[in-house]
């Protein structure tokens, strides 16, 4: 499974590097979301600082939707799904590989958005340990859920519009947990954030295991 996962992750990341969609479209879009939040809330600078965690994770989720759609589209083109079924690749490995590639892209975007939040919202970094652990757990949860739902809607003509509709409600607990953990870290009370971090880790494991188990069925059914 791990060999297949590495193969698929390498392919998806190579496609991303060659197509440059993440760097040329997704990254500017996610920064634009941060800027628009800043425009909307600029008169009240304190409010912007206070809401920075929530705005940050909302921007991450918007960026994630694009990254997940891209990832699902790779296997939608010109008979690739049939070729995957014929290849003998372990479906769990395909899922893990695709989720890992999405996670790598998301981490890069989160780093960029983090810089954006510091520059645009004037946030001072604190509680680095909690921020990193919560960020990693939330990223895995988003990537795993997104990959699973991306496969679920694949083959449907309305997949681009249906994916956010299905995915965002499922990711609401991740948004809440990550926002609370970041708020605690930035407020200098990391002890308040670790329980949220535990929730995020639990969600990440749950979604990853569910995805690995269900992906084969989704691959066959689409």
């Amino acid at each position: 499974m791990w060999r297949d996962a590495a193969l698929v992750a390498g392919r998806d990341l190579r496609v991303e590097l060659r197509s440059r969609v993440t760097t040329n479209q997704v990254a500017p879009f996610s920064l634009l979301v941060l800027v628009l939040f800043a425009f909307a809330l600029d008169p009240d600078r304190q409010l912007l600082e206070r809401l920075a965690s929530g705005l940050y994770w909302t921007a991450v989720l918007f960026a994630a939707l694009l990254a997940i759609s891209r990832s699902a589209a790779i296997d939608e083109t010109d008979g690739v799904r049939d070729a995957l079924r014929l290849s003998g690749l372990d479906p769990a490995g395909v899922f893990v590989g695709k989720a890992a590639a999405v996670a790598v892209v998301l981490l890069a975007l989160e780093l960029l958005l983090g810089v954006g939040v510091v520059v645009l919202y004037g946030v001072e970094l604190a509680g680095a340990g909690l921020v990193v652990v919560a960020g990693l757990a939330a990223t895995v949860a988003v990537a795993a859920t997104g990959t699973l739902y991306g496969a679920l809607v694949s083959g449907l003509r309305v997949r681009e519009t249906l994916l956010p509709l299905l995915l965002l409600p499922v990711l609401a607990p991740v948004l809440i947990g990550a926002t609370r953990a970041f708020e605690a870290a930035l407020a200098g009370v990391p002890a308040d954030g670790w329980p949220w971090c535990g929730l995020l880790a639990g969600l990440a494991v749950l979604y990853a295991v569910a995805g690995a188990l269900a992906y084969g069925t989704l691959l066959e059914g689409s």
């Binding site: 190579r14 995957l84 079924r85 014929l86 003998g88």
Partner: protein
């Protein structure tokens, strides 16, 4: 000897539509069998069913010793399907694509390089992004992916479509080579002149089932000609129609 493909009264559904409605077919090892019939006759469905991609819901369906009614997945690793879709990634190079699909089916790295060379993609085209290739070049890339798999059963759906004359000759030579090495070939084509000269046997389909026999003998009543590209190891040639 057990046939490579054994379909008996096979029924396959596409949604609720019976794309195969009681189809019979036996293909021996080393045979090249041409499926012939009008559009919608079920040729592509036969190929996809043999690849384990379309479930056979009734009848008997055994391919390479695997009962497709029980589980179609184990046979997939041993077949190569060249269909209308290429299964390629537009943003990756020719070499990246062949390498990925080769590694996916655990092909030997030497076989992957050889596959690129066999279809003439080891030169400047090797590092060209697939999205910039012509339809024929994409087809050759798909063929390289199939060659890298070294499948026991080749399933070719309109294999000559989009290829120039030289590449068609090259494809026919590769099919002959594969058969000499022990592979079996099932192909569907509307380019009958070329496909019939390649095949050992012709099977007619109509409406998802085996069509009544239609004479393949020349109009002067002489015996049908043996396939000129017949592989030495292949069974004796026979242009016939299954009733």
């Amino acid at each position: 000897m057990e046939p490579v493909v054994h379909l008996r009264a096979a029924v396959a559904l596409l949604g609720r539509f019976p794309a195969l409605a009681g189809f019979d077919l036996d293909v021996a090892r080393g045979e090249i069998v041409l499926l012939r019939g009008p559009n919608g006759a079920g040729k592509t469905t036969v190929l996809r069913a043999c690849a384990g991609l379309v479930p056979v819901v009734r009848g008997e369906a055994v391919v390479l010793g695997h009962d497709l009614r029980l589980d179609p997945r184990p046979v997939r690793r041993h077949v190569g399907l060249l269909g209308h879709a290429t299964g390629l990634f537009d943003d990756l190079t020719v070499a990246d694509n062949v390498r990925f699909w080769g590694r996916a089916c655990r092909a030997d790295p030497g076989d992957i390089a050889a596959a690129l060379a066999l279809v003439g993609l080891d030169g400047r085209l090797r590092d060209v992004v697939v999205g910039r290739l012509s339809a024929g070049q994409r087809r050759r890339t798909s063929l390289a992916c199939l060659l890298a798999r070294r499948p026991a059963l080749w399933l070719l759906d309109e294999p000559h479509a989009g290829l120039d004359h030289d590449t068609r000759d090259q494809l026919d030579a590769l099919i002959g080579r594969a058969v000499r090495q022990g592979a079996t070939v099932l192909l569907a084509s509307h380019e009958l002149d070329r496909a019939e000269s390649l095949a050992h046997r012709v099977v007619e389909l109509a409406g998802g089932t085996t069509a009544p026999a239609r004479s393949a003998a020349p109009s002067d009543g002489s015996a049908p000609q043996a396939p000129p590209r017949r592989a030495p190891a292949a069974p004796s040639p026979e242009v016939s129609h299954v009733a």
